[in-house]
């Protein structure tokens, strides 16, 4: 119990420090992604908060982002998803699950020949949109989404 409290306290402190650094213009959001854990984005409780904290609040829909996921997932604890971006100069991809308690699942940067695509397995608490945000080298954000129906949830066990 005490250990948990300590973690929470530390977490709150770190979030404050990052927010202050960003406000002061010391760190751009992408620098934060590269270095310190982007706690504000990963602990955001809704899509709007998560998108804002990865800098993608105004992302435009783009069909160049390909999401391969099952239409119906029998087990929400393990939902295999393949994502790829055909948008030129994509440097980062983030995957979010709209209705999860903490929507942002992951955000990856690609460099030195890594193709802007990845496969991963998501936890999904209920039927939800899976959204993917792509960031290009010039700092623009694009998004795409696909609905996955979940018959047995993966959160709360």
């Amino acid at each position: 119990m005490d250990a948990l409290r300590r973690t929470l306290l530390k977490g709150a402190g770190a979030t404050g420090a990052i927010a202050a650094a960003m406000a002061a213009g010391v760190l751009t959001p992408s620098r934060v992604l590269a270095a310190d854990y982007n706690r504000a984005a990963f602990e955001a409780k809704d899509m709007a908060g998560a998108l804002k904290n990865i800098g993608a609040a105004g992302a435009a829909d783009n069909s160049g982002i390909v999401i391969k996921a099952p239409d119906i997932a029998e087990n929400g604890a393990v939902v295999p998803v393949d994502v790829a971006s055909n948008i030129a100069n994509t440097v980062s991809l983030a995957v979010l699950v709209d209705k999860n308690p903490l929507p942002l699942s992951s955000a990856f940067d690609f460099a030195n020949g890594a193709l802007p695509e990845m496969s991963l397995r998501l936890k999904m608490g209920q039927t939800s949109l899976v959204e993917v945000v792509a960031k290009t080298a010039d700092g623009k954000y694009y998004r795409a989404k696909k609905e996955v129906k979940v018959t047995v949830g993966g959160c709360g066990g």
Binding site: T7, L104, S105, S106, L115, R121, G156
Partner: protein, 104 residues
């Protein structure tokens, strides 16, 4: 110390296919145990992959990733024999680094 990752790296044409399985509980902090106590969050927060000495993948993860996460990536321009080094760190400061070489 967490169990070793299982890493597979295989050339397909001029692209290396990298798949990694990490042994990790990925507790969300939302789940309750049988006694009704909340299980504290415990999840991988950052992942890096180096191939041939160059950082190709750098990312962060949250609790919406499944237990024992599996990730797949493709790296163009890698060569058979290149060393693949994968590292993760979680929210409790546990970390693990494993490596393999790209198979031809």
């Amino acid at each position: 110390m967490a169990d070793p990752m299982k890493i597979r790296a295989q050339m397909k044409g001029d692209t290396a296919d990298i798949r990694v399985l990490m042994s990790h509980a990925m507790e969300t902090g939302q789940r309750k145990d049988n006694a009704g106590n909340t299980v504290p969050a415990h999840y991988i927060q950052s992942i890096t992959i180096d191939v041939g000495g160059k950082r190709v993948i750098q990312g962060q993860t949250g609790t919406s990733v499944s237990r024992n996460p599996v990730f797949g990536f493709r790296v163009k321009g890698a060569k058979a024999g290149d060393k693949v080094v994968i590292h993760w760190e979680d929210n409790k400061g546990d970390k693990r680094t494993d490596e393999t070489t790209v198979a031809g």
